[in-house]
Amino acid sequence: MKKIFTPVIALVLLASIFIAGCTPETIIETVIVTEEVVVEKEVIVEVPAEEEDVTVTYFTFSAAPDHLEDLDEMISIFEAENPKIHIEVQTASYDDYFTKLQTRIAGGDAPDVFELNYESFVSYAAKGVLLNLEPFAQADPDYDASIYYQRALDAFNYKGMQLGLPETFSTVMLYYNQDLFDSAGVAYPAADWTWDDVIVAGKSIMEGNDDAWGIHSSIHFWEFYKKAAQNNCQFFNEDQTEVLLTSPECVVALETMISLLDEGVMPTNAEMGGISDGDLFISGDLGMLVSGIWMFSAFEENSFNWDIQVEPGMATQATHFFANAVNVFAGTQNAEAAYKWVKFFTSDPAMAEIRIDSAWELPALNNPDYVVGYLSQSPPENRQAVFDSLEYAIVPPVIERQNEMTDVIGAALDQAVLGIITPLEALEQAKAGIEALLP
């Protein structure tokens, strides 16, 4: 008997790990006794279970790490107005977000509400996992479509169904270091500059200043489709059955991008040595930078004067239009409550105020008051350029196999940048790769 006893104890020990695991709260709560914990416990005991107390889960990538407090503020306002609805925030960093979202949906643990950006929206919409908000909007007397920035609202309309409401939008600008321009005696960039002007200015800035670089504008898919549009290059024909990337306009567009490297005004990846373009600009050694308006708060503390301008063009001008939306999962159990949250989070004035005050991205709303508030902040001074950019805004070309197309083009661009193949060869390679992806 004794001989069997001790092994059984061992098995019991092992099993107890699971039992212990089953009641995690008691273990942790006894170790960390904080006021917060005690209060939570009391609340659960005191409030009797009323009918229709609903919890809506909201999965987001844009809140952590800097804006969790802002989000909490918005939630408390919402919950005060909607006492029976409780919002539970779940966060992930942008790099992991989509992997996690797909896994959760695949595993049947989908959040009720989640964020999507434009590129990913299309594939989720096509798979039927997003709830059509149109019926809810129709039934809601307070819903007013015109408060939204129309282009943003349209971006998330799929085949006549409003599958998400626009949360924020952003665009990409030309940032420039005024101190470097001043030292070189070069006039600040104007709204109608071309890339030739950029090269001239860049060279002047670098003359006599060994540490400085003229310009940085990344060479990857998202920059390429915009530069292509600047030169009237079309990716596809009307019905997306043919790839037109090898046309002369497209080749010139790519050659222009690479010429920045060839003319020596832009550092190569090797010359950057692992720091980001934003870091380079912050260090004061970069004359001009093409980057998004989301960098405003990162550049606030810059030790030099800087401003923004509409991005230079080629035959014409083209700028980015990026937007994020909040969407409701098609299989949610809490559709009505989820809709209320989505509507509040995308359109409520209190929400917009919090956003603008804490520089947490631009709400996709038409209200000129918010614009005024936004424009009055600085740096940068020339915030009007953000809205001027929108005149030339374009959306990315989208196909069903979007990520594969992005990678195919990226691979071709990488090789062209390294000089392994010519721009024309790169575009031929990209064209072949994309054609294989079309249905």
Binding site: K3, F18, C22, L68, T103, R104, G107, G274
Partner: protein
Amino acid sequence: MEKNKKVNIKNVFMYIGLIIAAATMLIPFLWMVSTSLKTNQYVLSMPPEFFPKNPTLDSYSQLFELLPFDRMIMNSLLVAISVTIGQVISGSMAAYVFSRLEFRGKNALFLIYLATMMVPSQVTIVPLFILMRYLGWINTYQAIISPMVFTAFGTFLLRQSFLTIPKDLEEAAFIDGASHWTVFWKIIMPVSKPALATLSVFAFMQAWNAYLWPLFVTNDEKIMTLPVGLALLHGRYLTQWNLVMAGAVVTIIPMLIIYLVTQEYFVKGVVTSGIKG
């Protein structure tokens, strides 16, 4: 006297080599610490600065403000300790069977154990997630812990170690009427302290640094482990490296403590005293 001189020069060279090697191992740690003491402005300059101009402990306090950091530390501790205990117990018992008992299909079964380590976890993660959903274990500690307890690593390591223990010791015990349990507990285990210490360190490390699986299976910040929580510090466009490094430094320290503690067990096994030459 001449022989001593020769030996000394060799030793000196060896020492120099070791010290250089050790220095290369230590430099990243020092750089991590120095980066964590910087203010974000100066963090990523090229060439990098090793000595911060105005060292500050701000990053560390910010960590605690931005995230429920103390909670995450406790979560990681709970997970890592449970996984270590689980791996040591289940692994050693299985290793005992594979190294000392016989049954038909033993080698085939061991091969299966090995084989389970050869399929990349990135694809098994989704079926595992679905399994957890089915068990109702999403966002629980047992979901994080279980897959890590039952990997074949511990069994493999301990089996190899147990195989080096000569059978003479047990023979005597069996003749005296000892059961397998007694042999396991009183002879094999005490003699395997170095291997058990090694397994403990690595099981703890695997659980402590685990990222992908805890990321997938936890939704709630209250239950997140350190690596998952620290990943939230990576912004979409810009990362505050001083915060990231502060988090990395905090993550390393318990691991070093565990390592130092288990160093005590790296002593010659008792087996040496029982051999009859």
